[in-house]
């Protein structure tokens, strides 16, 4: 009989877990929808900003001898110091979401180490920061409590330090690694070479009317624009990562809920069998008792 009680308790506990995982899945679904909306809205900003950068870059190429001089656009053949910025979640329970990003960071580190290039790590998100701390790898800079609620100003502040190091020549390349959102069921680790900006990326186009500019210094204007653009790319990486985190969690929790359901089914069968067994045993006892009295 003790067995029956045990199974019953197990079923109850699994059912409770199932309730939690189902709730987490629903929460993630709702949050994913909201994050997707945010990503869509903020893409408008990126499009307009790129448009402005293109305009100015075009003007410089056309009217200024020597082209763009800014360090942002310089081609650096042999980088000496590379900054890797990675974005992970603050929370776990989302399948391999954080592990994938961390794995990619390792890969990049190995790659640059074999080329004898110095690497500095900057981390965003508790999971990644704690992981590297546990493995006794020094992080140059880290920030937590930002992944779950991307904030433009904090992202900008974090990125400004990165940009400043680059402008001053302390670093020669900046890479942002984050696990990005593809669709509801797919996430993909994305590696963005944020700095220096590839000049070929800004597409050439014909400008019909010449623009008046204020202030008249093209370089100055381009630099501030690029600065904004870098801030924005960080912000967008955060939003993209958050969307991916929610979709990964949704999947993980969906799988967990299904597993719990299977478990309950299995345990129920076991419970019914055990109950039937005990009833049969009891019946046999009663019948054999009756037989003995005859």
């Amino acid at each position: 009989m003790a067995n029956l009680k045990d199974i019953k308790r197990q079923i109850k506990s699994v059912k409770n877990t199932q309730k939690t995982t189902r709730a987490m899945k629903l929460v993630s679904t709702a949050k994913l929808r909201r994050t997707e909306e945010l990503a869509k809205k903020s893409k408008v900003y990126a499009a307009k900003l790129t448009e402005l950068i293109d305009d100015i870059a075009f003007a410089i190429k056309k009217y200024k001898a020597g082209g763009i001089e800014s360090r942002y656009f310089s081609k650096i053949e042999n980088p000496i110091v590379v900054d890797i910025v990675f974005v992970t979640a603050d929370k776990g329970l989302c399948g391999g979401f954080n592990a994938q990003t961390i794995k990619q960071v390792w890969k990049l580190m190995d790659e640059y180490k074999s080329k004898k290039i110095k690497i500095r790590l900057r981390g965003i998100g508790k999971k990644g920061v704690e992981y590297f701390k546990f493995n006794e790898i020094e992080l140059f800079d880290s920030i937590t409590d930002l992944s779950a609620a991307p904030d433009y100003n904090r992202a900008a502040e974090f990125m400004d330090a990165v940009t400043q190091d680059f402008v001053e020549g302390d670093t020669d390349k900046v890479i942002v690694v984050h696990n990005g959102y593809v669709n509801m069921i797919t996430q993909e680790v994305k590696i963005d070479n944020v700095l220096p900006i590839d000049p070929d990326m800004s597409t050439e186009k014909e400008e019909s009317s010449a623009m008046e500019q204020e202030p008249a210094d093209d370089e100055e204007m381009l630099n501030t624009l690029v600065h904004k653009y870098i801030r924005y790319s960080m912000y967008y990486a955060l939003i993209d990562s958050l969307a991916a985190e929610h979709s990964a969690r949704m999947q993980a929790m969906d799988a967990a809920t299904n597993n719990a359901k299977d478990m309950v089914d299995k345990l129920s069968t076991k419970y019914n069998k055990a109950r039937q067994e005990s009833i049969t045993t009891e019946l046999i006892e009663i019948i054999s008792g009756m037989e003995a009295l005859k």
Binding site: K41, Q213, K228
Partner: protein, 126 residues
């Protein structure tokens, strides 16, 4: 009557997008007004208030903390990092917007003028 399109875009989406009659921008090198058919211009914006006159003659203000304005013949695009539209359906909504706008303008060099502008615009829109 001629009108032009004004769009104000922030990292959190577009906050203003409609036809207007005229607008005044807080340029880095001085305030400037834009009417339809303005010459093409690209300008750096400082912290301040964009005052907009809509096609129906009503005024609206948008507090910004610096960015860019790209003016074309009948289309003006503003790309800014932070912006608060001083408008709302109820008095409390407007008051809230004014508070947010003030916070945004705090760091500006001539924040007093900008804040005064925000308040007067806020009063008008109630």
């Amino acid at each position: 009557m001629s009108s032009m399109k004004l769009e104000i875009v922030t990292p959190n989406g577009s906050i203003f997008n409609s036809e207007i009659k005229e607008a005044t921008f807080p340029g880095k090198e001085g305030e400037f007004g834009v009417l339809p058919e303005h010459a093409s211009l690209l300008s750096l914006l400082g912290t301040g208030v964009i005052s907009i006159v809509k096609t129906d003659g009503s005024e609206e203000g948008v507090a910004i903390d610096g960015g860019y304005a790209k003016v074309e013949e009948n289309k003006t695009l503003c790309v800014v990092e932070g912006a608060v539209s001083i408008s709302g359906d109820t008095e409390s909504e407007v008051a809230k917007a004014i508070e947010e706008a003030k916070e945004l303008l705090e760091g500006a060099s001539d924040s007093a003028t900008a804040i005064a502008k925000v308040e007067s615009l806020g009063r008008k829109s109630i």
